[in-house]
Symmetry: C2
Subunit: 201 residues, 2 copies
């Protein structure tokens, strides 16, 4: 086995790195070897960046996204449309929507999705804060961009029910990924793509 | 752009993580978020493991593989056949050969491959030390497991020339990867596979 060939300290570093999400043992080994060989300044810079981020990062008190201030840069940006709110599950989902650079409203991070099995009920998410924002901020449309998973869909339905009559509630289309092959899509996705078909002519 | 959406400290952590080999910006972002959210003990354990590995790891004075002692655990293992030496480019290649668990000889880490373009000449590698070992350790076979790349092949040829008459020098077969599709192999690999064909009946 490879583990016997690894000196103990390297093995421990590989084990720690392999605990990170999406990092398998092989990648962990490559990273460990790189970090051990890199000059001291590189690993120190990494350690310092991690310390700084852990110390400074907190949640925006309005949208619950990542922020270094009490209110985040997106929420305080006067060029953004405060009447349009995109609801996402996690702070990282904000980054995904921002990357597309087509959404100019604000965000609301739920902190997860409803999952009765895992004991995640509406009160564990920031749904009450969302309702409060809708009323005080005169929000006219809420785009519920929770994941197209069972719990994400359930969360979207729940939010639609709660906000009914208070604001327009929309959901991004599900369908075939752009640039993908129909062959590689599952039936559910193909079904969604067909039921959501648009007129071209 | 997504970068504008990232608080500065998180952006810096992502940038540092993205400098690691094989870690793209998306993975770096996922890792950064995980590290920032993980409880303090996890990121401290990672930092401690990195410090320990950087402090303790050195090169084996005999094979130049990773070691915590002056001579590594493989070189000092009496069950291993010291007359058989596998030559590899990097210390990490030792781990790859060990993983297959079929090689019971010792190793010799060259520290790279010959590359006149990059200015890597025989004296930059541990070839002189290899020659010395062959003679003092009564090595009977040297398996040159440098990579099947241009520089790896050139290094193997050079070593075969240097060791001619001193020891048997062999090279692992090149060919189609097990479990792969011929369709996905390049012509060079298929060519190698055919020229190295074995009799089945």
């Amino acid at each position: 086995m490879s583990s016997s060939a690894l000196p103990e300290s390297l093995e421990r570093l590989v084990t720690e790195l392999a605990r990170l999400p999406g990092i398998g043992r092989r990648t962990a080994q490559r990273l460990a070897v790189h970090l051990v060989r890199a000059d001291a300044s590189q690993s120190q810079q990494l350690a310092r960046a991690l310390d700084a981020a852990r110390e400074k990062l907190r949640r925006c008190e309005r949208c619950f996204g990542f922020s270094e201030q009490s209110i985040c840069a997106i929420c305080t940006d006067p060029r953004r449309d405060a009447t349009l709110v995109c609801v996402v599950e996690e702070p990282t989902d904000v980054l995904l929507v921002e990357r597309m650079a087509e959404f100019h409203g604000l965000y609301h991070v739920l902190g997860g999705a409803l999952s009765p099995i895992e004991g995640i009920d509406p009160e564990h998410l920031t749904i009450a804060q969302l309702v409060a924002r809708i009323d005080t901020d005169h929000v006219t449309e809420v785009v519920v961009a929770t994941n197209p998973t069972m719990s994400g869909e359930a969360t979207a339905s729940y939010i639609a029910d709660v906000l009914r009559g208070r604001s327009r509630v929309t959901r991004p289309a599900s369908g075939l990924p752009v640039g993908s092959d129909m062959e590689h899509a599952d039936e559910l996705t193909i079904g969604r793509a067909f039921s959501g078909r648009r007129d071209l002519a």
